[in-house]
């Protein structure tokens, strides 16, 4: 006999609206179905009704946490459509703000993950340190969150020489605290008890369900578009792609923490090599008919854009596929076989961003099995 445990749409472990329908047998989860779409705003259609410049601001509002990843990808897409190359300095500044975004996103993840397992001291510490990188973002862009730095053809804000010592000091502090968190994450009994061997995604499943980003890397897939499909200035900077083999929540956290250190390394190099020059290239917004795609590595994984122009200043079609959407298919193998108490941390393990996701939203049925099973089918399936 199974029971249905509805979770959401209000506050399903994370403070975003989605609905999860867990089918449980005692404490054990036997099936999960996800109903998304509560934050669907019709952005793809809205993009086709506005001009390329307006769209930068709309794209930036797809998601707060990864707004720079969205605008960078969008701007790179439109630059390719128009055949324009942004100046070198702009590419370096993009790299810096992209990595700041990754650092803040990963520290945010750590804080919320700690909160999900009842370790609120770590939550407070991680978010205290996240403030340091938010301050650095504000220093460059004038905004803590929505940076409004990217524009088509380059960037709107400069990294001034007088900012550099402050940024380097901030990075030193961040490096120190991240190393401490790695130490805590690999030794603390509470974390190990709640995260190790929980919500496991095997390497085969990660590949089969097309997982992206830290989720794929925690399952041992060495995929990182900064290396595989370099953009901005990633081909000129040295950094490592972090992978773990376990595929559990612990590995997902470890990948994110170690990546934070790599991000700090990237920002230091970018600041050191930052060339002089203009910040943006002029661009004519009546783009002749053309089409292109662009992919970048957002904090949550592969962010994909497709754009089609038609000769006017408005795009014919812009398609956005952000990483949470791609990772939704992997949810089922992570939940099934686990217990109800694991739901919040496993859900948070993929670092879901539902507002990203719902700009075109979805419902997941995982491997494609029917979501409503008869008792008989369920019995067969359980074996």
């Amino acid at each position: 006999m199974t029971f249905i445990v509805p979770i959401g749409p209000q506050h399903p472990a994370v403070k975003e609206p989605e609905f999860f329908r867990f089918e449980v047998k005692g404490e054990e989860i036997v099936n999960v179905d996800i109903r998304l779409g509560y934050a669907h705003r019709g952005i793809e259609e809205a993009l086709a009704r506005r001009n390329y410049k307006h769209n930068v601001y709309l794209i930036e509002r797809i998601c707060g946490i990864c707004n720079v990843a969205h605008t960078t990808t969008y701007c790179q897409t439109i630059e390719q459509l128009a055949g324009v190359e942004p100046p070198e300095r702009a590419k370096y500044i993009r790299t810096i703000i992209l990595e700041f975004e990754r650092i803040h996103s990963h520290l945010l993840w750590l804080g919320v993950a700690a909160h999900q397992i009842g370790f609120d001291t770590l939550f407070m510490l991680a978010w205290r340190d996240r403030e340091r990188v938010m301050d650095l973002r504000e220093l460059i862009s004038g905004n803590r969150v929505t940076s409004a730095t990217n524009t088509i053809g380059g960037v709107r804000r400069d990294v001034k020489p007088e900012h550099v010592p402050t940024i380097l000091r901030g990075l030193d502090e961040l490096e120190r605290s991240t190393k401490y968190y790695i130490d805590v994450f690999s030794s603390d009994r509470t974390i190990l008890a709640r995260c190790a061997n929980v919500g496991v995604l095997t390497k085969d499943d990660a590949r089969k369900f097309c997982a992206v980003g830290p989720l794929a890397r925690a399952s041992g897939l060495k995929v990182d578009l900064r290396k595989d499909y370099p953009y901005a200035t990633y081909d000129k900077l040295s950094f490592d792609v972090v992978t773990e083999r376990e595929g559990d929540v612990w590995a997902k956290g470890m990948v994110r923490l170690k990546e934070t250190l790599e991000s700090i390394r990237i920002v230091r190099q970018a600041l050191k090599e930052l060339p002089n020059g203009p910040l943006r290239t002029k661009i004519t917004l009546e783009i002749p008919p053309n089409e292109t795609i662009e992919r970048t590595e957002a904090p949550r994984g592969e962010l994909f854009f497709y754009a089609l122009s038609n000769g006017t200043d408005k795009p014919e079609r812009v398609r956005v596929r952000e990483p949470t959407y791609a990772n939704m298919s992997s949810m089922k193998p992570m939940f099934v076989g686990g217990t109800v108490a694991e739901i919040p941390i496993v859900m948070w393990g993929i670092d879901p961003c539902f507002s990203c996701n719902d700009r075109v939203a979805l419902v997941d049925s995982g491997s494609g099995k029917a979501s409503t099973l008869t008792l008989e089918e369920l019995r067969r399936w359980r074996r």
Binding site: I293, Y306, A326
Partner: protein, 143 residues
């Protein structure tokens, strides 16, 4: 595979292969040959489908499958006339496409045949049947 290698691999299954650069190419196929192209990709260990894009081009709906061939991204197109908006599922070859096909069905009204779970994806429950918000007809109506 880089773009040249991907182009050589699918040349029997597609026309109008356009190599944009070594990591991006577009190709057009049809309902008879697209599975052949996908199976050929699968033999070269291509497992990642980035997404599926549907575009209303007036008389037809253009469905583009985006495959990550590491490092090249193959964008494989099929044009479906609006009076015959049907395409068999590819979830048997690429299970990761299950959500993108549901997205395609609901947003553009392309019927994906044999889909294991053809429920509505993200539109509300009371959304009227037969209305597809990314179709040009819908845009005209919504004005």
């Amino acid at each position: 595979m880089d773009a040249e290698e991907v182009a050589a691999l699918i040349k029997d299954h597609a026309d109008e292969i356009k190599i944009v650069n070594d990591r991006c190419l577009f190709a057009t196929t049809d309902r008879q040959r697209y599975r052949g192209a996908m199976l050929a990709l699968k033999t070269q260990d291509v497992q990642h489908i980035s997404t599926i894009t549907g575009v209303d081009r007036g008389e037809t709906v253009e469905v583009t499958y985006h495959f990550d061939c590491r490092p090249a991204e193959l964008n494989l197109k099929i044009n479906l006339p609006k009076n015959e908006l049907r395409i068999p599922t590819i979830t048997d070859i690429f299970p990761g496409a299950v959500l993108y096909e549901r997205d395609l069905m609901e947003m553009l009204g392309v019927k994906v045949e044999g889909h294991p779970d053809p429920r509505r994806l993200f539109l509300p429950d009371d959304w009227p049947e037969g209305e597809h918000p990314l179709r040009k007809e819908w845009r005209e109506k919504a004005k």
